[in-house]
Amino acid sequence: MYSRDGVCSIRLPLLLSLCLAGCGQSGPAPNSNSPDVLVLKQNPVHPQITVTGASTIAPLMNEIAKRFELQHPELRIDVQTGGSSRGVTDSRNGLSDIGMVSRSLKPDESDLQRFPLARDGVCLIVHSDNPVTSLTDEQVVSIYQGKTRNWKDVGGPDQPITVVNKAEGRSTLEVFAGHFKLPTNEIQADVVIGDNEQGVKTVAGNLQSIGYVSIGTAEFNRDAGVPIKLLPLAGIEASVKTVNDGTFPMSRTLHLVTKSKPTGIVHELIEFATSSKVHDLVKELSFVPIE
């Protein structure tokens, strides 16, 4: 599980720096001559990068930060959550070096430098033996509002629908509810689940169920032989490919933003985070890497 308070600090480098200070050495501090891009708090000798913003991106950014710190043991990266808007404001007024934004940027936010980190796609899944091959947006909304309660009303067999929903606060729920403009408190669920794997298992074990999970997870499980079917949305096939090229509607791009063109270690971190070196982490957290 992701850190409880949404704040993760890697303390090892700090300890290390204390050791070094004890030895009477001033530890390596690259780029300490460009303080404009570094927020130097607490420890004047060692650089620290503060990243704030969307809680969707934070777990991924945490993993990326850990890997980056392995290469730069003197560096300390502080990842804090607080929503996309905080990511924008913090990076604008210099409270953070990098902001994390999980929605598309608004027109008045064009002053920020943006770096696409990964894509996040969500698709509807049903059991593979379910004869229904597609649902219109209205049908999906009606099912999730509890107005349509039987598969026969949407072209399926005469069986009650089991609505599988995500727990409050999950980013998949956010994407799903955002796409269908469905307030989360109007959703009438029969089963509430936690992570994507549980969603896949729930749907695979229940012929009458419908759920939604990250596309990466759904595709991986379907290809591994799990009896689930990915439903297309507005006629567009649900796959990592359509999420990647931006045609799949229920998806979004996760961005990193900075106030000005990044330099020094911040630039290096952004380069690293958007490179193929972290694609395994992106996939692990069920996002889609940007090719």
Partner: protein, 290 residues
């Protein structure tokens, strides 16, 4: 070192350890209280009982925080599981103690111990891929109070069985001899002599089982359906306090996060009340022969 100073040292060490273990519990309760405080003051205890639903948010004005269905879910699943597992566990111990031949009893106990050692996530996975589809065939969706009760029963059954067995073993041998001298049958001995004599041990066994059922998380998350509504029957999904914490903690901020600690607080209070009840009960009616 003289004998008495050794004893004094031992007493000091034991006292120190006792204080530490006591302090740990106090610290946990304090921590939960402190973390739950923002929700208790911003949202207010009354809204935890009267809000329309459980749709928490980081700001108290946009979220709704009704904990009642969730608390009811915890009580229902664990109490029902104890109602089923309690008698079964006691009967299992009676069998191992008074009916099974010595060798069979040894193997039987080992089997029950093995059952106690299976991690809860294994029970949960089994529940999700085997039990839930079975329940689904009777009445969809399958994730239900019933599935939760069955899984919890399986999980706490060995707790009751092993502790009851230990309570029987701890009874003075004179009871069995006296019963034999009176010519009592085996069933009369077991049910009218031994069980009443071991009553406080049995109460502890059932209590620990109940507390384990209330604290169980992973398995419950997987089979109960986790819908935060008042459960409408055996086949309706339920959500427990622990499941709420597990499902939402990773993503919760602000008062939402604090409300989850309030869930923990409710759990602590409920468990404390149950333990106090058992303690008071056993003070009032001490077991025979003590």
């Amino acid at each position: 070192m003289s004998r008495s100073s050794k004893d004094l040292l031992l007493v000091a060490v034991l006292r120190g350890l006792a204080v530490v273990s006591g302090l740990v519990v106090v610290c946990i309760v304090l921590f939960v209280l402190v973390e739950a405080f923002p929700a208790l003051s911003d949202v207010g205890p009354s809204r935890f009982l009267s809000d329309a639903s459980w749709h928490p948010d980081e700001s108290p004005s946009t979220g709704t925080f009704n904990l009642l269905p969730i608390a009811a879910g915890t009580l229902l699943t664990s109490l029902l599981a104890v109602v089923v597992a309690g008698p079964l566990g006691i009967l299992s111990a009676v069998f191992a103690q008074y009916y099974a031949p010595a060798r069979l009893a040894g193997w039987y106990r080992r089997l029950v111990e093995l059952m106690a050692g299976v991690p809860s996530v294994v029970y949960g996975l089994w529940g999700l891929v085997v039990l839930v589809p079975l329940v689904n065939r009777i009445h969809p969706p399958g994730q239900s109070l019933l599935a939760g009760v069955v899984i919890l029963t399986l999980m706490i059954l060995p707790t009751v069985a092993l502790l009851t067995d230990a309570a029987f073993t701890g009874l003075p041998a004179g009871y069995a001899r006296g019963a034999a001298a009176l010519g009592l049958s085996r069933s009369t001995t077991a049910f009218f002599v031994m069980i009443p004599a071991a009553r406080s041990g049995l109460a502890t066994a059932v209590m620990l089982a109940l507390v384990r059922a209330m604290g169980e998380t992973m398995a419950v998350v997987m089979v109960c359906g986790n819908v935060a509504r008042m459960p409408g029957g055996l086949f309706a999904p339920v959500r427990t306090l622990t499941a709420t914490i597990a499902l939402e903690m990773g993503y919760a901020r602000g008062d939402h996060r604090s409300a989850l600690f309030a869930c923990g607080l409710v759990l602590v209070i409920v468990v404390t009340v149950f333990i106090l009840c058992v303690e008071l009960g056993s003070y009032r009616r001490p077991a025979h022969g003590d």
